[in-house]
């Protein structure tokens, strides 16, 4: 196929009846040549997913095309009758949607899903192509597959009827780095082998860098930049693109306000020490055992680690490594099965949360991953900050100021705050108790990159000012290494190593650490 595989002209899409004023995409013009790889990057709400859907003539529920057209593989999609458009799906163009875990029909086996696109008898072969052992995979149900395997199956389903154009929405966002790397490699190989036209949407510039030769940056429903990858990386024109590039952490790059670990303010005095800490979890919501799903997992296996006063200890690991378990055990949500966990003055941290005396509760506070979940949507910021303290509005306002928020937020509820603001409120809440140790559990992973950078900056500033000991848990080695004094690496519940950041980056003490580093450097 020659000529443009995708041609979008003057496309404006808005919620039904909302008109141009409320458009989620405005006046988009875009050409993608056949056989090329385009990346679309932008933050949440920038319209990038809608753009991808427009390329298959599906503008999404409740949205309508106000103006413009989209042609894919030579067809004016929005002008085609429904049936004809549907006939193109999967044969001329395929879209692999976001939310990997939810995109496979849960009650159908893998093979059945292939059957539904008329490819049941080629299931094994197609699965083999995406690097799965097709024979053993095909009779499984989606819940019996890991995230990476699900994404591969989705990819195979998309490719099953040999479309010329493949569209992917956030193909790696929910996956661990190693798994994501595998998917991205597979994408590259497949594109080359089949000569596909590939369009990948992501919020992560790193992903786009890996797969695209040309990059489109979207913001507020418009394209703000459309460049080749090299050009974009070298000299981004739009300030937003620049901000995106600046915000993306890269390995070995220290945060501007963090010195090298040599002049760290950290002492060697211990605050918390864990000895041979083992935690067994029954998989269930909130740690409550429910008969239907009793499954015991050793989430932490003989972990011995110390936390030093005033340091930022980074903890890294993929999902299932036990990094969140470590934090939850320290704050008492989980209790250890064996081993000891205590503060330096002897306070026993193996005490479950409900039995901890209030002075102990105060000393360890935690900020959780998802602020939507950790802030009670029914409460005002004032109530969130002041509950259980004797603070007045002035004290709360001072806390808000410390996390760079306005006093006027006191009367607002979480629902009306942005993601960054919510996470700052959550940090302020933890600080309100003046903790000795602040536990930070993936606090930036739910945030957009630029917001993430600002939150990290605030955190570093607070650390500088208050000298609070922090334990910073993340799956992102680049972020951790930019601020941590020391880094602990966890895998499958075991502590592989703990080392000063620079040392760990240069001389990883474990193969696994080395592979993580290699992945992060790509």
């Amino acid at each position: 196929m020659s000529g443009p595989a995708i041609e979008v002209e003057g496309l404006t899409i808005a919620p039904c009846g909302a008109g141009v004023g409320g458009a989620v995409l405005r006046d988009i013009g875009l050409r993608v040549e056949a056989g090329t790889r385009l990346g679309v990057v932008g933050e949440s709400g920038s319209g990038k997913s809608t753009l991808l859907r427009a390329m298959v003539g599906n503008c999404g529920r409740g949205l309508e095309v106000v103006a413009g057209s989209a042609r894919t593989a030579g067809h004016d999609l929005f002008a085609l009758p429904d049936g004809d458009r549907r006939a193109l799906l999967g044969t001329a163009v395929a879209l692999v949607p976001q939310s990997v875990g939810l995109s496979l029909t849960p009650h159908l086996t893998v093979e059945a899903q292939f059957r539904d696109v008329g490819m049941g008898d080629r299931t094994s072969e197609l699965l083999d192509e995406v690097g799965l052992r097709g024979e053993s995979m095909r009779s499984r149900y989606p819940h019996e597959l890991s995230g990476g395997e699900q994404q591969r199956v989705l990819l195979a389903l998309g490719l099953a009827r040999d479309p010329g154009v493949l569209l992917l929405d956030e193909p790696t966002s929910a996956l661990d780095v190693g798994v994501a790397d595998g998917i991205l490699r597979l994408l590259e190989q497949t594109q080359e082998r089949r000569g596909l036209t590939l369009v990948v949407v992501s919020h992560d510039l790193g992903v786009i860098e890996r797969v695209a030769t040309r990059v489109v940056v979207t913001r507020s429903g418009a394209i703000v930049e459309d460049e080749s990858l090299e050009q974009l990386m070298r000299s981004p024109r739009h300030p937003y693109t620049r901000a995106l590039l600046d915000a993306a952490p890269s390995l070995g790059q220290r945060h501007a306000r963090r010195g090298n670990e040599g002049d760290s303010i950290a002492s060697t005095e211990q605050v918390v020490r864990a000895d041979a800490l083992t935690v067994v979890r029954t998989s269930a919501e909130g740690g409550r055992a429910r008969r239907a799903s009793w499954r015991s997992t050793t989430a932490l296996d003989g972990v011995t680690i110390e936390i030093r006063r005033g340091e930022i200890l980074g903890v890294i690991g993929e999902s299932g490594s036990g990094k969140s378990t470590l934090l939850k055990t320290m704050c008492g949500v989980l209790t250890p099965a064996s081993g000891t966990l205590a503060m330096s003055d002897g306070a026993n941290l193996a005490t479950p949360l409900r039995k901890r005396p209030s002075h102990l509760l105060r000393r360890i506070q935690m900020v959780m991953q998802n602020p939507d979940d950790s802030l009670n949507p029914a409460h005002t910021v004032r109530r969130i900050l002041q509950a259980g303290t004797s603070h007045d509005d002035d004290a709360s306002a001072a806390l808000l100021a410390a996390v760079h928020l306005e006093r006027s937020l006191l009367d607002r509820r979480p629902g009306s705050l942005s993601g960054g603001e919510k996470q700052r409120v959550a940090i302020a809440r933890a600080l309100a108790r003046d903790p000795e140790v602040l536990l930070l559990d993936e606090i930036t992973s739910a945030l957009d990159v630029t917001v993430q950078a600002a939150v990290i900056a605030t955190l570093v500033e607070l650390h500088e000012r208050l000298g609070t000991t922090m334990v910073f848990v993340s799956h992102d080695l680049a972020v951790v290494s930019s601020i941590a004094d020391r880094i602990a690496v966890l895998r499958n519940g075991r502590l592989l190593e703990v080392a000063d950041t620079a040392r760990l980056l240069e001389h990883p003490g474990d193969e696994y650490t080395a592979s993580l580093l290699a992945l992060a450097r790509r």
């Binding site: 019996e144 909130g286 499954r295 009670n376 629902g415």
Partner: protein, 297 residues
């Protein structure tokens, strides 16, 4: 399950895909006007019924029990706009008065049921373990019993005093509320802000009152309203079967039962209470249905 990649058990990923109604652009974009109209009609009808039940004694109506031996089963006339029933009583007056017993008892019963349901549901969710099991098994059994049968038994054997009926209705209609509250509470208890509250030292009582209840208010109110309409129906069915309200008290179910025989002579005594009862139940349901009494978001 043996070949599954290690899944972090910490991940609060729900194995059953959550359906997030709030993300339904569609509903947000297109429904509000229609919904508001429904809401206002439904709310007006409900409010009208409640006001009527409260203030009907002030209306210039004939006494609902006053009889006229010379005007039995008469059609609409100037003296009796909706005609008269088989004892020569004014149908209009009886119809307007007829909501009082049902609404009063249903209201009392549903409040009690809500109280019971919230207490039991929250206690079961919070306590877990054997207490949860016991409470929920009892709950299941109450759910399994045919409620009208139990009502008939109580009304027939113990008596049809409002207090007996109200208590029975409350007990029979609390279980669905308890089950919902338990489920919703468990959902909320699994959320991080509850952990955050524990970290600040909040006790169980405080967590239920301050953290949980405000977040499940919407669904609980919806469920309670739903049960209100079922209680209304159950009570009027009971009256219809002759075990509810005591004559000559005007009550819709009783009026329908009494007027059914004479339907081809004069349908008004049958139709008027039917319309009133149906309009109230329908309005309550349309309120539940169309309103987004969801969580504060």
């Amino acid at each position: 399950m043996s070949t599954v990649d290690p899944v972090d058990p910490v991940d609060p990923v729900d194995p059953v895909d959550p359906v997030d109604p709030v993300d339904d652009i569609d509903a947000r974009a297109t429904a509000p006007r229609r919904r508001r109209r429904w809401l206002s009609v439904g709310a007006a009808v409900v409010a009208g019924h409640v006001l009527l039940a409260l203030f009907v004694p002030l209306l210039p109506l004939q006494a609902p029990t006053a009889q006229d031996a010379t005007a039995v089963l008469q059609g609409s006339s100037g003296a009796h706009w909706l005609g008269t029933d088989d004892l020569g009583r004014d149908v209009l007056s009886r119809t307007l008065w007829g909501g009082r017993p049902s609404i009063g008892i249903a209201f009392g019963a549903v409040l009690l049921a809500a109280l019971l349901g919230v207490l039991i549901g929250a206690a079961a969710a919070l306590a877990g373990g054997w207490l949860d099991d016991v409470l929920m098994r009892v709950n299941d059994v109450l759910l399994a019993l045919p409620s009208l049968l139990v009502l008939m038994l109580m009304a027939s054997f113990v008596g049809r005093q409002p207090v007996v009926l109200t208590l029975t209705l409350a007990v029979m209609y609390a279980p669905p509320i308890a089950r919902l509250v338990r489920g919703a509470t468990l959902g909320v208890l699994g959320r991080d802000f509850v952990v955050a509250a524990r970290l600040r030292g909040a006790g169980s009582g405080e967590i239920v009152v301050r953290e949980v209840l405000p977040n499940i208010r919407g669904v609980v109110i919806t469920e309670v309203a739903m049960q209100f309409s079922w209680i209304l129906l159950a009570f009027s069915s009971l009256s219809f079967l002759g075990l509810g309200t005591t004559p000559p008290t005007p009550e819709w179910g009783l009026m329908v039962a009494g007027a059914r025989t004479y339907i081809t002579i004069n349908a008004l005594p049958l139709v008027a209470p039917m319309v009133m009862l149906a309009s109230l139940v329908l309005a309550v349901n349309s309120l539940i249905d169309r309103s987004a009494l969801g969580e504060p978001s």
